[in-house]
């Protein structure tokens, strides 16, 4: 066996990592760099030639007010959703780790919304908002109120509500893992030293669950920031394009209005934002971890 010959090494590597590596390069690496090239062209998606236009797309993207307002809207939606998702998830995790009977049943139950994709969930909730809520409103006030989905702020409220409902169960599981990772004796020691349970939670348990918080906040931020399926089925950007989020705007720019180069450029700006969020997560995750 000549295990240090280059040909042997290459053969081994290709045998084991070849399939994954080739597919990964074909759908991630190649499109990523080809996409960089596309930002300098104006392609309509049909013709074979892709005229080179230099930095025109970047200029157009920076001047595209619809894009920037969709980005601003996405930031507002993400911030509110992330805060609410994590508050609700932490509260649920606290309840389902308090040592009651049937904890597993409740955990499984709260996780259900995550099983079903955004498209189907969006339509289910559309029915809830358009019919059930209206029907409840009618019973309470005697007149038929309009659907929440037909007003600008209402549509935003609905998107946030459904996102919180969808992700809370998933983040709950991560917090549950965090709770179970905290040694009970530490909390008991704090209680013996005269902490009340709220203070013990705040000063002992929560700092030790730092990793869970960083992870949940990062996960919920990236998911909310790139929201598309739910946006499509629940509001479809309506009313008057007031609930078009960044991902939907990029999709429409490319595939509906056929401005492929510009859509790609706007997507690239999204990527830069995502990369910054990712870098911040790594930075805060590494910084200030408490040792138990």
């Amino acid at each position: 066996m000549k295990t240090n010959k280059l040909s042997y090494k290459m053969g081994q590597f290709l045998m084991f990592a070849g399939p994954a590596g080739i597919l990964f390069c074909a759908v991630v690496i190649v499109p990523f760099f080809y996409g960089l090239y596309l930002t300098f062209t104006s392609w309509d998606g049909v013709s074979l030639e892709k005229p080179f236009v230099g930095l025109d797309n970047y200029a157009a993207a920076f001047a595209d007010t619809a894009y920037w307002s969709s980005l601003g809207r996405t930031v507002v939606y993400s911030v509110i959703s992330v805060i609410l998702v994590n508050v609700v998830a932490f509260f649920l995790a606290y309840l389902v780790t308090s040592g009651i009977k049937g904890q597993n049943f409740f955990r499984a139950g709260f996780f259900i919304p995550n099983l079903i994709g955004g498209i189907v969930l969006g339509y289910v909730w559309k029915f809830v908002f358009n019919r059930a809520f209206v029907s409840i409103g009618e019973a309470l006030s005697g007149t038929a109120p309009g659907s929440l989905l037909s007003t600008t702020n209402g549509a935003m409220f609905c998107l946030i509500l459904v996102s919180v409902w969808q992700y809370a169960g998933y983040m709950m599981l991560i917090y549950v893992a965090g709770f179970m990772g905290v040694d009970n004796s530490l909390k008991e020691a704090a209680l013996i030293d005269g902490c009340n349970s709220t203070r013990a939670m705040w000063h002992v348990v929560i700092p030790l669950m730092r990793a869970s918080f960083v992870q949940c906040i990062f996960l919920s931020t990236t998911r909310c920031f790139m929201v598309y399926d739910l946006n499509l089925s629940l509001t479809n950007g309506e009313p008057f394009s007031s609930s078009v989020m960044a991902a939907m705007h990029v999709y429409n720019q490319a595939f509906v209005y056929k401005n492929y180069g510009m859509g790609q450029t706007e997507a690239l700006v999204l990527f830069v934002i995502c990369a910054v969020i990712g870098a911040l997560q790594v930075y805060f995750g590494k910084k200030g971890e408490v040792a138990a």
């Binding site: 597993n104 079903i116 991902a247």
Partner: protein, 294 residues
């Protein structure tokens, strides 16, 4: 796996105070859970009503014209349910299997040969690629595989693309698992006994990775089953549609026929809910441990 399932041991409610606290907690949880599943219950009670009854009172448990099953066969027929269900199943199962196998193999060769630059480079690229949102890749993807190579509109293309997008995270998870859970001595012993690397991997390493395999299979299968954007870009022909695409097309056509919509939504949710009923323990444990490692 058992560790992540292990609960904080239920404290025996000793004093009356603890008993009351537990009672309150359970009551709060029951109310919250009912709120959580309310939308599904609403779909369930309306699916057995006629269109007129849903419009007149969506909250009534039973419609004025009584109980009807007509919505189901009608929706199944119009949605082409068995075909799209089959498509979803083929795509999800194949993509999950390939992702698991390819990622485990790649992680193995990368972990065991830290000196090989090509492996480190591939792994670094995979980790870095995790921050790339799909939106950045979708235009070039359609441009390369639709415009230049013209291989869209096929299940095989969709499956391979799904695999390509998910190998990075899956390899990353296997990488951690092999590093911490597979002792190198076992492989050395196998190699002294004349076992090839290929056989060593399949007979010794891969079976030891079962918990990780369960986790990544569950996470990936759920993502593939529910994915809408990638399949919608790849599949244009009706007979290839997966459940999310068929649901969207169906809603676009029949949104006014609310009874049919209810049936279609329930049909779209049913397969995964039934599966969850049997596998919920594994799903919850898998997602929890995946979250801790990922």
């Amino acid at each position: 796996m058992t560790k992540s399932q292990a609960m904080a041991a239920p404290k025996a409610p000793t004093s009356t105070g603890t008993k009351i606290a537990h009672g309150v907690t359970i009551a709060v949880l029951i109310v919250l859970l009912l709120l959580f599943i309310a939308p599904f219950i609403l779909v369930l009670i309306n699916v057995f009503k006629t269109k007129g009854d849903i419009n007149s009172d969506p909250l009534a448990l039973i419609g004025e014209h009584g109980f009807t099953l007509d919505n189901f066969p009608n929706a199944m027929d119009k949605m082409n349910f068995w075909t799209v269900f089959g498509n979803s199943l083929i795509v999800t199962v194949s993509a999950t299997l390939l992702t698991v196998v390819f990622s485990a193999m790649a992680a193995y060769v990368i972990v065991r040969n830290p000196g090989w630059k090509v492996g480190s480079l591939l792994f670094a690229a995979m980790v870095a690629s995790m921050v790339i949102p799909f939106q950045v890749l979708m235009v070039p993807l359609v441009s390369v595989y639709g415009g230049i190579l013209d291989v869209l509109n096929s299940r095989v293309t969709l499956i391979l693309m799904h695999v390509g997008f998910s190998v990075s995270l899956t390899t990353f998870m296997y990488h951690g698992a092999i590093k911490t859970n597979v002792p190198a001595e076992l492989e050395e012993a196998a190699s002294i006994d004349g076992c090839t690397k290929w056989r060593t991997f399949w007979q010794i390493v891969f079976p030891l990775l079962k918990p990780t395999t369960a986790t990544v299979a569950i996470i990936n299968a759920m993502a593939f089953w529910n994915d809408y954007l990638l399949p919608s870009l790849v599949l244009g022909r009706r007979e290839l549609y997966t459940i999310p695409i068929a649901t969207r097309v169906f809603y676009g056509t029949y949104s006014t026929d609310i009874g049919l919509v209810m049936a279609a939504l329930l049909l779209a949710m049913l397969p995964i809910l039934i599966l969850y009923l049997f596998l919920q323990r594994y799903v919850v444990a898998g997602v929890t441990s995946g979250a801790v490692k990922g």
